[in-house]
């Protein structure tokens, strides 16, 4: 049973939403995506990409492939493009097996206290420390089902260009043969079989491109521009130890 995006419960699909596009990816490296309620020092990972991460990936490939052609009318162009990407309803079907590996890394990071103590220092102060990271091994295919509306071909083109979700370097291979177009979502939520809860973030209903654009000064607010709700993944925790968790799909 895939995750239901928060919007799908509240707002009825618009009239244009008639078709659903399901795309399939083969994970080719370990996956990691910091949960949005965790901090960088203790970054627990989501098990699968969240709708927020998927929409960001779509936006990234959109800007990279078409942004240059709209230098003159960028604001108007991105407004319409962002709106339809923002309003996508996304369901995710995790692969058959997942293994979460827990790691600790030693690294050097920004020392805020030293920076505050001496504002005149020419270099950024760093300190030694360690951080916690989780890396997820996905075995099988990841499927994403999306309300395509009248943007089916465009959406498909964008999905086919995506090569990573989550942290940079978490590569996924798009499988053209795994593409399906249906009139109903391919996976239906089914809470009776059991599930694993994962906080899923998504773009807010009224957010704008500038609110999520790091180069703009518009402020983003938690709960409005980035909404975090519980998502239910059809996964069962079959074994767990200090260093790993193993999940199987129901």
């Amino acid at each position: 049973m895939p995750k239901q995006s928060p919007k799908s419960k509240t707002s009825p699909p618009s009239e244009t939403v008639t078709k659903w596009l399901t795309v399939t990816y083969q994970p080719v490296s370990l996956f990691s995506l910091k949960r949005s309620d965790a901090t960088s020092m203790a970054a627990r990972s989501n098990l699968v990409p969240t709708p927020y991460a998927i929409k960001m990936a779509l936006l990234k490939v959109l800007l990279e492939s078409q942004g240059r052609q709209h230098l003159t009318d960028f604001d108007a162009w991105i407004k319409t493009e962002f709106t339809w990407i923002r309003d996508l309803i996304i369901y995710i079907c995790p692969p058959e097996k997942l293994v979460v590996n827990r790691n600790g890394y030693k690294l050097r990071y920004y020392d805020q206290t030293a920076d505050k103590a001496d504002k005149t220092r020419p270099t950024l102060p760093m300190q030694d420390g360690f951080v916690f990271r989780e890396w997820v091994h996905l075995q099988g295919h990841l499927q994403i089902c999306c309300s395509a509306g009248n943007r089916l071909s465009e959406l498909e083109r964008l999905f086919s260009q995506i090569n990573y979700f989550g942290k940079k370097g978490c590569f996924f291979q798009y499988l053209p043969d795994g593409k399906q177009e249906t009139s109903e979502p391919l996976f239906q939520p089914n809470l009776t079989t059991g599930f694993t809860v994962q906080p899923m973030d998504d773009l807010g209903e009224k957010t704008t491109f500038n609110r999520i654009n790091p180069f703009s000064t518009d402020k983003a607010q938690l709960g409005k521009d980035r909404v975090i709700k519980s998502g239910f993944l059809p996964l069962k925790l079959v074994a767990t130890s200090a260093r790993y968790d193993i999940y199987h799909r129901y």
Binding site: R35, S36, D37, A38, T39, S40, M41, A42, A43, R44, R102, G104, Y110, Q112, D128, G129, F130, F132, G194, F195, V197, Q198, P199, R211, I212, P214, F215, K219, A220, Q221, L222, D225, R226, S230, F232, V238, A239, T240, S241, A242, R243, D245
Partner: protein, 603 residues
């Protein structure tokens, strides 16, 4: 009607469990003080915990309750206690820690057997280490601040509890707001708003980058609402298991775990946990893996002890005979690594519980308890300091997972360790072995799935051919080497057999080569042993090898190899053989039978 309370899981770490535990102890307190039925069942419903009460709480009585500490303020050597009212009692960390040290020393001298006589020191407070970690990690100030804000509610405490129980009886996402509204309605006052989310309470919300928009690397301290943190602080203090773990010479980390309930009564949960923390805590002096392994083993022991006492009291047996992980699902924890002056979150983890411990009657309760003691006696001889980290980590993977194959991974390395140790003249003690009876009990509950059908491992382990070859391995390795026996020990056999176990052909070659050399040795020494009247070795025959090859064909070489190693390096061959003779006469021979058989074949 407040008969069920729901605590939604919103943090995804042990904070969820701790918050529920913080609430449940308030419910228990309210029921106790107002003389209502106190049975509380804690049920994990996936997205939330459900606290199921026998009867609806009478909230009118609860509203009249006075303030009492859900958790005490703590005072370490350097804690600033100027805010704590003078007459108020606090948790004196220095004092309780001394008491614990005294008790643990006594326990060590008594070799774990507690005798309650006059000389015996008093058992420590079960939450001692939870107080110590707060001062050690410099969270005592945060903890005391949370307490102080709670204490200030004072006269309205009863009404606060009513607001709390009413809010949690409704399945709501934002209970903080609801409690606040209800409390304000009832009293006209407001609850404290926010407090610092320190790492011990919310391990993934430590100071660090966490921004809605990736526009800066500003490192902010995290804030959360006071109510959640106050509940978490109560849960952690009363129910957490904290231990200082030795990592290296004079380097100590902290590990905090909490037991995740699945479907269990609060009284049982509390009693089992308190006994574990008070009388027999897992040791932190020998590395992380040993702590985890001891934690799981000792917890299971205490749970089975509790079941034993319940079974003796003739309560509903139906409730008792289930796998251990039906009552509680796992331990959730956080490892705080030492960074010199401060501690950082190094790991957020869970430790599973051995689901194969599933006694079906009172007899099995005792047997499983013996198995646990046996395992405990094996791992307590291993220590990270003496270079056994890999063995301990392998064992930890087994005991915290639910897969028997992880046991084989450990057993292969342990088997060679045992033989090495046996050969070491300087070794202080004889290495401990697992018993055959214990292994039999373990394999009983592992159903191996093969070719779409469930396979009972006993099909292999009760096969006479398998048993005779395992016994041959035993007599050539563990049993051998002593002068009085008169034959040499084979080294590295477990490693050799295991390394060839990937392929049927290679494994059969390796096994045959072992049996050939074993039989050669038998031919060489048997006459002499007979002359001297010494115990003679088992003779394996063609039929045994045929049977094992059949098993390999049927079940694969890896499984059979692993089981052969596990049984070959176990203890109790003499005993089990005798009991087999008493039970059946189906070909599993006694020592005497073997000799007779050997003679006939020789003749």
């Amino acid at each position: 009607m407040t008969q069920q309370l729901f605590v939604t899981k919103k943090f995804g770490t042990y904070a969820d469990t701790l918050m529920m535990l913080g609430l449940v102890q308030l419910v228990e307190y309210a029921l106790r003080e107002t003389h209502q039925k106190r049975d509380i069942q804690i049920v994990d419903q996936g997205t939330c915990y459900c606290l199921q009460l026998k009867q609806s709480i009478n909230l009118e009585l609860v509203a009249k309750l006075n303030y009492t500490d859900p958790f005490p303020p703590v005072k370490g050597q350097k804690t600033d206690v100027s805010k704590i009212p003078q007459e108020h009692e606090y948790f004196d960390v220095v004092e309780v820690r001394e008491r614990r040290t005294l008790f643990l020393n006594y326990l060590f001298q008594q070799k774990g057997k507690v005798e309650f006589n006059e000389d015996a020191p008093k058992p420590p407070h079960p939450s001692t280490q939870n107080g110590v970690i707060l001062t050690s990690m410099r969270h005592d100030r945060n903890h005391n601040e949370l307490w102080f804000l709670g204490w200030q509610i004072g006269e309205n405490y009863g009404k606060f509890l009513v607001a709390l129980f009413t809010a949690f009886s409704q399945e709501t996402d934002d209970f903080t707001q609801l409690v606040n509204d209800l409390f304000t309605q009832a009293t006209g006052q407001k609850l404290p708003e926010t407090a610092s989310a320190v790492k011990i309470y919310l391990p993934t919300s430590v100071q660090g980058v966490n921004r809605v928009k990736a526009d800066s690397n500003k490192v902010d301290p995290q804030k959360t609402d006071w109510l959640s943190l106050w509940l978490i602080a109560g849960g952690l203090f009363q129910f957490g298991i904290s231990e200082r773990i030795k990592i290296a010479e004079r380097v100590f980390d902290w590990r905090v775990v909490v037991l995740e309930p699945q479907d269990i009564q609060l009284t049982k949960y509390r009693e089992v946990l308190d006994k574990l923390r008070q009388f027999n805590p897992p040791s932190g002096g020998h590395g992380i893996a040993r702590f985890d392994a001891e934690l799981v083993l000792k917890f299971c022991q205490k749970l089975l002890d509790y079941h034993q006492s319940q079974a003796d009291a003739e309560t509903d047996e139906f409730e008792l005979f289930k796998p251990v992980n039906q009552f509680v699902s796992n331990f959730i924890g956080t490892h705080f690594g030492s960074k010199g002056q401060v501690y950082g979150v190094k790991e957020v983890f869970t430790l599973g519980l051995p689901g194969w411990i599933s006694p079906e009657n009172q007899q099995e309760l005792t047997e499983y308890n013996q198995v646990l003691s046996e395992h405990l006696s094996v791992i307590t001889t291993l220590s990270a300091e003496e270079g056994h980290s890999e063995l301990l980590a392998a064992y930890r993977d087994f005991i915290t997972g639910t897969n028997l194959f992880n046991f084989f991974r450990f057993q292969v390395s342990y088997a060679d360790y045992v033989v090495k140790r046996l050969a070491d003249p300087k070794a202080k003690f004889f290495p401990r072995l697992f018993s055959i009876n214990g292994l039999n009990l373990m394999v009983k509950n592992f159903n191996h799935r093969q070719n779409e059908k469930e396979l009972d491992l006993r099909d292999i382990t009760e096969d006479p051919g398998f048993l005779r070859i395992a016994k041959a391995i035993n007599s050539a390795t563990v049993y051998a080497g002593k002068d009085e026996h008169g034959w040499d020990r084979i080294y590295g056999l477990a490693q050799r057999l295991s390394s060839q176990a990937g392929s049927k052909k290679d494994f059969i070659i390796e096994l045959s080569s072992f049996i050939a050399s074993y039989e050669n040795e038998n031919l060489r020494i048997d006459e002499e042993l007979k002359k001297k009247g010494k115990t003679r070795r088992i003779w394996t025959n063609k039929d045994d090898l045929d049977r094992v090859i059949n098993l390999i064909e049927e079940h694969g070489s890896s499984l059979v190899a692993n089981l052969l190693i596990a049984y070959g390096y176990a203890k109790g061959w003499g005993k089990s053989q005798e009991s087999n003779q008493n039970d059946t006469n189906d070909g599993t021979d006694t020592e005497l039978d073997n000799i007779a058989e050997g003679e006939t074949e020789n003749d």
